[in-house]
C-alpha cells in the first residue's frame, strides 16, 4: 500500500513537473483567437517601434526591432490581446516596466542640479 502511494507520488510528480517548468512568458491563446500579423505591426507602430522582424515563439508573437529611443528590443506579444508579455532590451535585461530610462541619471552632487545631464564632444 505504502509502495503504491510512493509510486503514485513519483508518477504524479513526473507528470506535474513539465507543467511547473513551463515558462511564465509563454502564451496560450487558441489559434482561432489570434490577431493577424498586420495588427501586430500596427500595434508596434503605435508604440513608436521600428519593426525588423515578427515571428512566433512559445505561442506568442515576438517582435524584434528598435524602440522610440533607438534601442534594440525583443518583445513578446500576447497574440489575442496584443498585450506585452515580456520586453527585453539589447543588454539582455528584461526591463519592460521598471521605468528605467535610456538617459543615465546625472550623479548626485551639489553642482549638477540642472534638468539636462552634461554632454561632451571632442573636436
Amino acid at each position: 500500500m505504502k509502495r503504491t502511494v510512493l509510486i503514485a507520488a513519483i508518477i504524479s510528480g513526473a507528470l506535474a513537473s513539465p507543467v511547473a517548468l513551463a515558462r511564465e512568458d509563454d502564451c496560450k491563446v487558441p489559434m482561432a483567437q489570434w490577431q493577424p500579423r498586420e495588427a501586430v505591426e500596427r500595434m508596434a507602430k503605435a508604440q513608436g517601434w521600428t519593426v525588423r522582424r515578427i515571428k512566433v515563439d512559445d505561442g506568442c508573437y515576438q517582435i524584434r526591432g528598435i524602440d522610440a529611443d533607438g534601442r534594440e528590443i525583443a518583445v513578446k506579444i500576447d497574440p489575442g490581446s496584443l498585450a506585452i508579455v515580456r520586453m527585453k532590451h539589447r543588454n539582455g535585461r528584461g526591463d519592460g516596466d521598471d521605468g528605467r530610462s535610456a538617459v543615465p541619471m546625472p550623479p548626485a552632487n551639489e553642482i549638477l542640479t540642472g534638468p539636462t545631464p552634461p554632454k561632451a564632444v571632442i573636436q
Binding site: P104, P106, P107, L112, G114, P115, T116, K119, A120
Partner: protein, 158 residues
C-alpha cells in the same frame, strides 16, 4: 469655482517653477590640448568652493577607472568616488583635440569664490593635477587661459 482654483493653482506652480529654471544656465567648457605628442589624455573637470573643499565633478574624459589615480588632484578631492561620476564620463581626448562640455550650472556658483579645476594625465607622461584653476566669475567668461603643460587654451562661456 473649481476652475478658478485650478487656474490659481496653475499660476502658483508656474510661478514657483520658472525661477527654478532660471537659476541654472548652460555653460560650455572648451578645453583645447597642445600637440604634446602622446596618447589620448584623461581629464577631470571639477569644482571647489572658496575654502578649497570639493563640491562636485562636471566631466571626466577617459573611461578606465584604473587610470583615475593619475588625475591625482581630482581623485584626492572626490575621494575616488567613481559612482558619483556615473553618466558624466566620456572618451579620452587626443593631442591637439578640443573637448567641449556643456553643463547646466547654478547661477549661485558664479562670483562666489568657486573655482573650476582641470586635472590632466596622459600615458607615460607627467601627471598634471590642477593644470588649470580658474575662478568662476561672470566677468571671466569667454576669456581664454593657458594651462601649465597639456592645455593650450581653456574657456568657459555662457
Amino acid at each position: 469655482m473649481r476652475i478658478k482654483t485650478l487656474i490659481a493653482g496653475l499660476a502658483m506652480t508656474t510661478a514657483l517653477t520658472v525661477p527654478g529654471l532660471a537659476m541654472a544656465r548652460p555653460i560650455t567648457l572648451t578645453t583645447t590640448l597642445k600637440n604634446y605628442g602622446g596618447n589620448g589624455a584623461y581629464l577631470a573637470l571639477y569644482v571647489t568652493d572658496a575654502s578649497g573643499a570639493y563640491k562636485g565633478t562636471l566631466w571626466v574624459a577617459g573611461s578606465k577607472s584604473k587610470y583615475y589615480s593619475h588625475l591625482s588632484g581630482w581623485e584626492r578631492a572626490s575621494r575616488g568616488n567613481v559612482a558619483g561620476i556615473n553618466g558624466i564620463t566620456g572618451a579620452s581626448v587626443g593631442a591637439g583635440r578640443t573637448l567641449k562640455v556643456t553643463v547646466d550650472l547654478a547661477d549661485a556658483l558664479f562670483d562666489a569664490g568657486y573655482k573650476l579645476h582641470i586635472d590632466v594625465a596622459a600615458e607615460d607622461m607627467r601627471d598634471s593635477p590642477s593644470e588649470v584653476v580658474v575662478p568662476l566669475t561672470t566677468a571671466g567668461a569667454g576669456r581664454p587661459m593657458a594651462g601649465r603643460s597639456y592645455i593650450q587654451t581653456f574657456t568657459y562661456g555662457m
